[in-house]
Subunit: 436 residues, 2 copies
């Protein structure tokens, strides 16, 4: 095969799915173009630890170029996809560049979503990108600084109240981590306030935490969070939001810092393709081979795809599922190119669900095996070291993360960026009406 | 002495000067209020390594609170000083809080200055704050990304041209570090461009580099930079600046990335006090005891102060000088309070000048002893490890920095923040007129 005739695979997104596909394809005579709107791969499962000042952005994000350094058949590009021309088989980016493909893998992931309430965004940042995490970190740390110089008790209490919206793994992890930050890491650092007296409130719409897990795991998480002092409000829906306030029906909670962990939606891949997304998350519908329905030579994997390959159920939006999807599609494409055996339809194998609540406390649901508490926490830690090594070689980095996490080193406790503290409030901040 | 009668010392700024003073005073029955507009101490000598993606912000900045954790007589506050009421002996902050003092230490440092050309700021960020460094890092890394997808050779060359304005230690270090980034770290990471072909231009107004150093050191730096491929323009002044262009008299240099290392000015301490600053840098004039001229019980140390305690010459704006000043003022205040011996007038002891040009190349000017090359570089590295340990205990952290620097680990190569790449240019960017 001459070089000119080499098949072109374009991959959109360098998350777990796209990266796995690129790595497998790179070993074959295929020309790969890997496009991501950022220049780094983000290890999303640990992003919340950037938000709670446990880790630095560089601890959970690694330059994509470095991963394919010297690989002549992988072209890494930073670009924002705006349109996919299915007839011309071309991907178009915002900077005017376009990239032709023989096969296209869409692995552009998900972003947090307020499901139509986009005006809530400034009040309650989500946790999907590095800038979200540093924004949340800034807000949490600034809240304590503002409480320290607060001029009234009401103001102080508002600054010392943190609300997390959403009781899935991210919400549970965030609530637990903020409680630990207040109770341990910051405990001795202030003179006017006692950080231990901070209120952490977790608001969950369903009647239990961790709905994707076994019911017992949800109960355990509830108890473990309450032990850390977190107030868990079940069957409570946020109906209104304003500056420093959230409204849940008739109740108004004064919370200086609000974090959104309630929902995600797919990246706008359906729009790029000019097709209809599935459900309110606007996922891209795929067939049994992870090919986008009605789109020849276009595949979708990971959080962006709506696949029913989990014994008829939807494949969950978690890292192992994205990796399995990416590996499957790479093999499928290679098979079509005559470079490997056909893998048959995609079958998702669910290894389990993990969530950590705090140091030495986690829930692990592996189907038959269910763990809680200290043993689960060690399992969670070791599983993440294993994943980290899978993404980025050095064992040392993974061990270092684990060590600094274990030892409560809070080296990343920096308030960077434009500090909202000094913004002059020209406008009266939006406040909720007092409940009638 | 009852607690109520304890003398109150307010320190503005937690740089090397303020931190040193606070640490000495904290061991005595004195109530200290340490105010900084950021929540971290910045290890400024290594900040340029954040700009060149060698280090993360958390590697060179440490939360001030953590340094005084559990110290009951040190109150750390995040606040922006706006005024000093000398009659009422009170420091006023932007948030409306005010803090009374018996003695005041101004250690608020310097910021980069365009000396009246403030409209140059968007074209050429400086290097004084963490956000400056991450902004420069973003611009340098984005420049290579833009070059990779550039549609014309002229555009590509412009993106691949980096200009550093100013030939002092910061400028020399930046120019050397960018050249190394292009020639080593990024060399194999791109497919369309060869990062090794990047142009790095150092523009210096004087007829030599490192004017504060011995002449031979400046010559060595010039040769070492040229060996790294840096084009050094001596006796060249920037007279105009526009987007992606700098004008030096009749010459227009097309440079996609411009970095300002040409000058600093004092923080607005003179304005807070209602006095006149000294020189174009607006330094605060101090007497032989580092007391601000005409301001009883107000001292100034470090980069903000104009002190002639170096055998009649001005004390340089470097970290060791700030530390000596901070220690002196703490002892002076303690002596006045009857808690120690009077140290007499301040005498600055100059240990030497250090600057690094790249890995394994530096200049060290200790007066009698002058080193260049590899030996100087090791001296520079060990001196910084020593300083790092002085600021933040763990030896491990210092060793880790040195190790990752030695081994070219570029873990921090992240483009974070709002990527200018995707901003739509509604306005025509400002361009310089073609030279006549």
């Amino acid at each position: 095969m001459t070089k000119a005739a080499r098949p072109k695979v374009v991959i959109i997104g360098a998350g777990f799915g796209g990266l796995t596909a690129a790595r497998i394809l790179a070993k074959h005579p295929v020309d790969i173009t890997l496009i991501d709107k950022r220049n780094y791969h983000l290890f999303q499962p640990l992003l919340y630890q950037v938000a709670t000042a446990d880790l630095s952005p560089a601890d959970v994000a690694w330059p994509i170029r470095g991963m394919f350094s010297g690989r002549k058949n992988v072209r890494v590009l930073m670009g924002k996809v705006v349109r996919i021309d299915r007839a011309a088989k071309t991907v178009h980016c915002a900077d005017g560049c376009s990239y032709p493909y023989d096969d296209l893998i869409i692995a552009s992931g998900a972003q947090h979503s307020y499901f139509g309430k986009d005006d809530w965004a400034p009040f309650a940042p989500g946790l999907k990108r590095v800038i979200d995490a540093t924004e949340v970190r800034k807000r949490i740390l600034l809240a304590f600084e503002k409480a320290e110089t607060a001029q009234s008790e009401a103001e102080r209490m508002r600054h010392m109240t943190f609300a997390v919206v959403g009781g899935g793994p991210t919400g549970v992890e965030m609530a637990g981590a903020i409680a630990e930050l207040a109770r341990f890491s910051l405990a001795r650092d202030f003179t006017s306030i006692n950080p231990r007296s901070a209120r952490v409130i977790l608001v969950q719409g369903a009647d239990r935490l961790l709905p994707a897990f076994d019911a017992k795991m949800g109960e355990y998480a509830l108890k473990a969070l309450e032990k850390l002092g977190v107030e868990v409000l079940l069957k409570t829906r946020v109906t209104q939001m304003a500056d420093g306030q959230i409204g849940c029906g008739d109740t108004v909670i004064e919370a200086g810092t609000v974090i959104w962990a309630a929902g995600v939606a797919a990246s706008p891949a359906a729009k790029w393709l000019g097709i209809d997304g599935v459900g309110r998350a606007r996922l891209v519908p795929v067939d049994a081979d992870l090919q986008v329905e009605g789109c020849e030579n276009v595949f979708a994997v990971g959080d962006v795809a709506a696949s029913r390959a989990w014994n008829g159920d939807f494949v969950p939006g978690i890292a192992p599922a994205a990796k399995q999807g990416g590996a499957y599609v790479a093999r499928k494409i290679l098979a079509r190119l005559g470079m490997g055996r056909d893998p048959g339809p995609f079958v998702y194998k669910h290894a389990g669900n993990l969530a950590t609540i705090g140091r030495n406390s986690a829930v692990v649901d592996l189907g038959k095996v269910k763990l809680t508490g200290g043993l689960a926490w060690w399992f969670w830690g070791l599983a993440h070291i294993y994943f980290l090594i899978g993404v980025r070689a050095p064992l040392l980095v993974a061990m270092q993360w684990f060590w600094s996490y274990l030892t409560f080193t809070k080296g990343a406790r920096l308030i960077t960026g434009t500090a909202a503290l000094y913004e002059t409030a020209d406008q009266e901040p939006l406040k909720l009406d007092a409940p009638k």
